[in-house]
Amino acid sequence: MSLFGCPCRGTCKDCMLGCANVRKPEKNDLKIVLAGNPNVGKSVLFNALSGFYTEISNFPGTTVDISRANTEFGELIDTPGAYSLGNYSDDEIVTREILKSADIVVNVAGALTLERDLFLTQQLIDIGFPLILVVNQVDEARKNGVRIDCDLLQEDLGIRVIPCVATEKKGIAELTAALYEKDAHISNKIIPAVKEIRNTGNITESLLNVLDAEAKDCETKDKIYSQRKEIVIELSKKAVKHCGKNFDILSIIGELLLNPFIGGIAALGLLYLLFQILGVFIAGDVVDFIFNKLDSVYVPIITKIVGKIVVFPLLNQILAGEFGILTMSVKIVFGVLLPLISAFYLFMALLEDSGYLPRLAVLADNVLNKIGLNGRAVIPLILGFGCGALGTITTRILGSRKERTIATAILGVTIPCAAQQGIITALLAAIGGFKVWLLYIFIIFVFIVLTGTVLNKLLKGQATDLLIDLPPIRIPLFKNIVEKTFFRVWNFLAEAIPLFIISSVMISILNFAGFLKWLQQALAPIVVNLLHLPAQFSDVFVMGLIRRDFASVGLLGMAGLENSARTLSDLQILTASIVVTLFVPCIAALIVIFKERGIKEAVILWAGTFMISVAAGAIVTRTMGFLFS
């Protein structure tokens, strides 16, 4: 595990819990790559075949990086979904790169969307991969009156075809057996246009040849695509039988959510629900209970024990002082963050698995178009409310460099992560309820629009057009919800605890050395004069450099929610919440921004957010006083 946990949230080899095996693949291990259209169930299949865990959600673009696992039949690799292997978006490029070294490709297609998915199958055939085709989600197809003739597919495609219901582990045994026997074949049913260019000896070369031909000019690409499409339409006419659709309540809900009015009300309703759960129930009742127990029972005991054993004053302070590891850190992580984070992630998991997000993308498209994005950007932005690092990686699904930069900036500047959300919701619930929280959301929204508008003007290029697959509304699978929430919470703790310890130590030392007092004076012009906050607030800045949620934690104490004396007024709490929200990205997010977007953008973004946060706070404190008078 790396120091900061793993921003990939369980998808790469550095992760906790051995969610991907660290054993080096042996030389003669086959590379088996799962490839297919987005949202067809590749990751479910990966988990079922390997016993490892990668995230699964009901929207296209869940997986944006590869996951590897070692199995008895070779090294298994999960890839981001792709509609075809040209240069389209960064996640599709990831898939293309890993396919270069594939020995066997397991092409996963959705039974509901087979007519479309076979297009990629044909491309894989044209390139000449040893192929196995999995037709997944046949349970849903059957429910919708669709029958698929897999024997006919097998014959016509010239490769092994296996029907599956990955979520119920049906068909997994057949697939495992096929992999053991290396029952993957190179089909000769290729389209005429690529016959001469494909290289039978070398897959990598063949892949490049075919893709080069497609990229050469629009006419050639059109010719190749049209020939492919023709074969696919022909084949699916024979192999897919529609026998009338049953009445289905979920598909009606799916359609209703596309209505702007109903969709808008649904979005507001969800916000209200989130507020009730996080701000009222978890923050009010659950946190209060746990926190008080820790404060009244645990802290006195641990302070006494440490006092007996450790006499050296600095060390004593580090362990059990005001900012001590065993006192403050434990109280905050287990008493405050853990309950808030768990509830928030659970809520997110339900949202992600229902199929609501792509529909929200449709409704948000008009607004996002105005700031240089398209509706698809809703997905990384919403995921960013869970964790900025995850959101930033997911900007890979966006179509152009400009869109990725804008979305990354919005994530870095404005979007508060789960831990921060939780704490701020708790604070705002205490000073003014849903109304003040809505105002807070509105201010964030304004900054999203501002950031987007400015960058849209500054950067060249246009937003790409929205084109997104709307998956069926699904009832979230209990197992998946629990698993996802657990892994995310676990990853959060793995990331937060070491950082918390480091910053506790650092702050204790700084405090001991009198640096915090000095800094309070140095920052007084900004903190006191500009933001109208107590000088002590500069401590929050220091904590916020490391993680934004720590900054929020600093606020908790000053707001009197930590059984301490309250030193902030209502207006000051709102101001401070805004400043902390807009404050610089945390270290983990910054690393991802640096990796994905380069050092220049990372530095500009970091400095920019600092200034924006202070400016926003200065405005809020001067204009919002009427709310609390």
Partner: protein, 72 residues
């Protein structure tokens, strides 16, 4: 009569006739839509949502303007 998909109304059955340029043609093709096929307009709320059998796709307004259809 031919018109851009962006003008389709909810409930229309639209037959795709042609595309304005090859770029929009190949881009939509990999999402499963090509000339000659008939799609149902499920909603027109800025983006146009079209359905074909069990596939549902949202097409942004700009792109929809480049797709010519005949509706009934």
């Amino acid at each position: 009569m031919q018109k851009p998909l962006s003008n389709a109304r909810k409930g229309d059955l639209c037959r795709i006739i042609r595309f304005k340029d090859t770029q929009s043609k190949t881009e939509t093709m990999r999402f499963g839509l090509s000339a000659g096929e008939t799609v149902k307009c499920i909603a027109n709320v800025g983006p146009i949502i079209v359905g074909k059998n069990l596939i549902t796709i949202a097409v942004g307004r700009n792109l929809a303007e480049k797709i010519y259809v005949e509706c009934e």
